[in-house]
């Protein structure tokens, strides 16, 4: 028997009411993610990928369908259970880093463990370890505004890793970085995946999706492609090097 998938999404829907109109941001999405996978969710803005990320991150609850992560039926959970699930199962990496500006890098990384109720000493040990693993052992006592963009994102990644979650959930993690720094971060994700972390990377950039072993393309709230990153990234999207003279694929 094969191992149960880490994430199992089945016919997931999320509808919003905008005035009289019902918007189907997510319209019956199904896929599995196995442990150790690195999957990109790619799509244009408005394709539903942010909605999907919020649902997978347990920040939001679906209108219909089911979502399991690590054996938890998320759609049935109370608000407190969702908070605990976010704390233990999911490590968020945001486009805008979302660090607390008044706290040091160390305090930022410790935060998830505070909500887990770990003793101070253990918290610090793990946070130091996490910061060292992303190459920031010498920047622990700096505040976010004393760090470069790339360093901030590394702090955020350390924060995502520190609780040893089953899923790293990254939302446009290179969106606010220059290309060289973005490249570093992507390489870091590659290393983390090599070490066994399961990663779900949400992006609108086909180039990034092409780097992932697997990609899921969303369009109008539906999965339109699911396969190797290099293939999925190019489907339905302009060619990577679009010529200027108006050729449309």
């Amino acid at each position: 028997m094969t191992e149960a998938p880490l994430i199992s999404v089945e016919n997931l829907t999320r509808h919003y009411k905008v005035g009289e109109e019902e918007v189907r941001a997510l319209d019956g999405v199904s896929f599995d993610v196995r442990r150790g996978e690195w999957v990109a969710v790619v799509g244009q803005s408005g394709s539903g990928k942010s909605t999907l990320m919020n649902l997978i991150g347990a920040l939001d609850t679906p209108t219909g369908g089911s979502y399991r992560i690590n054996g938890n039926d998320v759609e049935k959970m109370s608000d407190d259970q969702l908070a605990d699930l976010r704390n233990t199962e999911i490590g968020f990496v945001f486009q805008t880093f979302q660090l607390l500006s008044r706290s040091t890098a160390l305090a930022n990384v410790e935060l998830p463990l505070v909500y887990r109720g770990l003793p101070r000493k253990e918290r610090k040990e793990k946070a130091v370890q996490a910061l060292e693993s992303v190459g920031l052992g010498n920047r622990m006592h700096h505040k976010p505004n004393e760090l470069s963009g790339g360093q901030r994102q590394r702090v955020a990644i350390a924060r995502a890793l520190v609780g040893n979650p089953s899923l790293l959930l990254a939302d446009e993690p290179t969106g606010n970085l220059d290309s060289a720094t973005g490249e570093d971060i992507i390489r870091l994700f590659g290393e983390l995946n090599q070490r066994g972390h399961t990663i779900l990377l949400v992006t609108h950039e086909p180039r990034l999706a092409a780097r992932c072993p697997r990609a899921i393309r969303l369009s109008d709230g539906k999965v339109v492609a699911d396969g190797p990153g290099a293939e999925v990234a190019t489907i339905g999207a302009p060619p990577l090097q679009a010529p200027h003279h108006g050729a449309v694929a």
Binding site: N54, G57, L59, D60, D79, D80, A83, D84, R86, N87, T88, F92, F94, Q98, L99, L100, R102, L111, P112, V114, Y115, R116, G117, L118, P119, R120, R159, G163
Partner: protein, 415 residues
Amino acid sequence: MKRARRAWAELLEGFRIAFGALVGARLRTFLTTLGIVIGVSTVIAIVAIIQGLDRSFEEQIQFLGAHTLYVDRHPWIQSDNTWWMYRNRKKITVEELRAVQRESTLAVAVAPMAGTRGKISRGNIELETVNIRGTSEEYLNANGGGVQAGRFLVAGDVELARPSVVLGTDVVDRLFPDEPVAAAVGKKVLVAGRPFQVVGVLERQGQMLGMPLDNVAIMPWPTFGRIFGTQRNLTLSVAAPPGKVSELESELTPILRRARNVQPGRPDDFAFNRQDQFLKLYKQLTGALYGMAVGVGLITLIVGGIGIMNIMLVSVHERTREIGVRRALGARRSTILMQFLIESAAVAALGGAVGTAVGLGVAQLVALLSPLAAAATPSAIVFGIAFSTATGLLFGIWPAWRAANLDPVEALRYE
């Protein structure tokens, strides 16, 4: 165990955040607490002054014995326009004194008291308005107090109407300047122009509502009668055994009615005066002040609380994204609620502590610069801080509730 540890960690985190927020925005913290500071300091100062007044009044009122009834024609405390009711009452005379002495079984001591103001002189020192009192040897037993030098009047002074006088310390100090108090004993003085021998000096009694109690000269009441006339109204002070003042009053009423020929069915034409009546009156007065202080305090606390609520709402708004981040990292609604409640309570407690300190300072200043005594009890301090903290909690509920119920998705996206 794990839950407790988590709650503890969150609590500490809440305090850490509150501290950071308060120190991070000092001016705002200052302005926020100002309302509470003013409210609490006002109340603390007023309460301290009232408590000081109460205490000094209770000390002063001790010159009226706690177990003593003062029988007079009229009550000493009268409601505004009733004096005419008492004006035509018969004087209290030796008849009543004798009746009480003869018939009362409860009375421990009975002393008549007659009084006027008059001159006392010695050599070329002349005191114009000394309170001159005529009484008996039982005066001290009935009223309390004692002599610090020499002796009090004895039965012989009263029976023989001797020219003996016992002086209060104010009188001694002025008649015998630069001499020890005991030096007065045995000396001659002139009271209302007649020679008297000083037989003793009373203990110092201080003041009663600004009236000096030591500007006094006490002589046997028959002697007093010879000089100032025998037709004066007397006040009888009758001491009861401890705790039996009311029983004594019940016993004396028929005795006095008979002695004064009050017909059955007619109201008493005399009145009993007691120390606790004064205390009651005084407590009524300061009770009203207390009420006002509490009212003012409540209003300013409400105003201060609204200020805190206002600032907390702004603070929640400003930290929307931080709230989103914390929620994403595993903070529950209750965690966020607690965090903001701690913050508002901390601001208010800070205001309460500063306000208490300022209020006590003002009270001390008042005590220093005016005759008002200010005394703060520890309970006033505890109440000041506790009430302001409670205000912070109360007015922090709504902002904290709003913070806790933010949608994490919206909060994270908030610019």
